[in-house]
Symmetry: D2
Subunit: 104 residues, 4 copies
């Protein structure tokens, strides 16, 4: 089962600057061979269910190892059985409708 | 690693009434032996990481089997290494502060 | 427009214990006259759109005034035009399906 | 009060294809003069609190007018009082740490 997810991980107890921890998660996700895309409030992730969720677990483990005593994450994730759809397909299907000739 | 999570699963392509699918997920979570608590916009879930996420995967599988071609879920999940904390502890620590003598 | 929402507010830069800030938000929501229900990973809120979102803004203001330099919140919120539905209705419609004679 | 938000709006009761509704929301957000960035599981939005939340309300109104009887949205939103930070700053502060010479 393929999944498209969006992860926003928030370490607590380490002050207000969290980019160091987010960067460590990016590395974890990339080393897992997943397709990812960082944005301003999370990271899009695409892959097989088990690979995606194993990498998310690893993110929590790594951020705790870096010293964060508490982590709260928010995740969106979607699956579909009607057809294959990539992260890129999702963005393109909206953008097509926004372009001048998009609604033909 | 223990996790406290909050799952809101939304089946698409099955009309506006989704309680049948949510009830099926409740059964999946209970059969997995997890501590759960249904509320008006999701379900609190407490347990070991692997058990919680295996049950969430099973929810997606079951809801697809019931006929939903597409599912989008939103999940919050938290882990901590500083101390044990149950779902009940979380609610009680806030309620204590709200009671008249709560802030001693 | 009525809305049912679920707010999970996370103050950053104030350590790992956040119940004091969550309790302050509960007071804000109750003083706004909204129907609320605290759970282990957020708070259900029911009311008119403008009242609900004014109270959520007030939560951020109050938590900043309490000393949190940064806040990240996650919110679910739903509206419907087909019929009225309360937070209680949502929970009951699932519970009915879980009871032995619920699926008649 | 400035806010950086991330909106994922899901219309129910209109089938599995929702890009038409998401495109309508993009137009609402852009017409409101907000800085936005579409990604595969939502849209980043940056602006003054009242402008951002007025536009989000408008999104729900417009999607209902387009025929969706029910909408569920998930929103992340953050505020900070310690310093100004744009959506771009957030992404750049992570990317700097991922580049070979990023951690000086």
């Amino acid at each position: 089962m393929k999944v498209i997810a969006d992860l926003c991980l928030v370490p607590l107890g380490v002050g207000v600057s969290v980019s160091e921890y987010i960067a460590a998660c990016e590395k974890v996700l990339q080393e897992a061979g997943l397709v990812t895309r960082l944005h301003a409030y999370g990271t899009n992730i695409e892959g097989e269910w088990d690979a995606v969720f194993a990498a998310i677990k690893r993110c929590h483990e790594v951020v705790h190892q870096m010293g964060a005593p508490r982590i709260t994450s928010s995740l969106r994730f979607g699956t579909r059985t009607d057809r294959e759809q990539s992260m890129n397909d999702k963005v393109e299907s909206v953008k097509r409708r926004l372009s001048p000739h998009g609604e033909e």
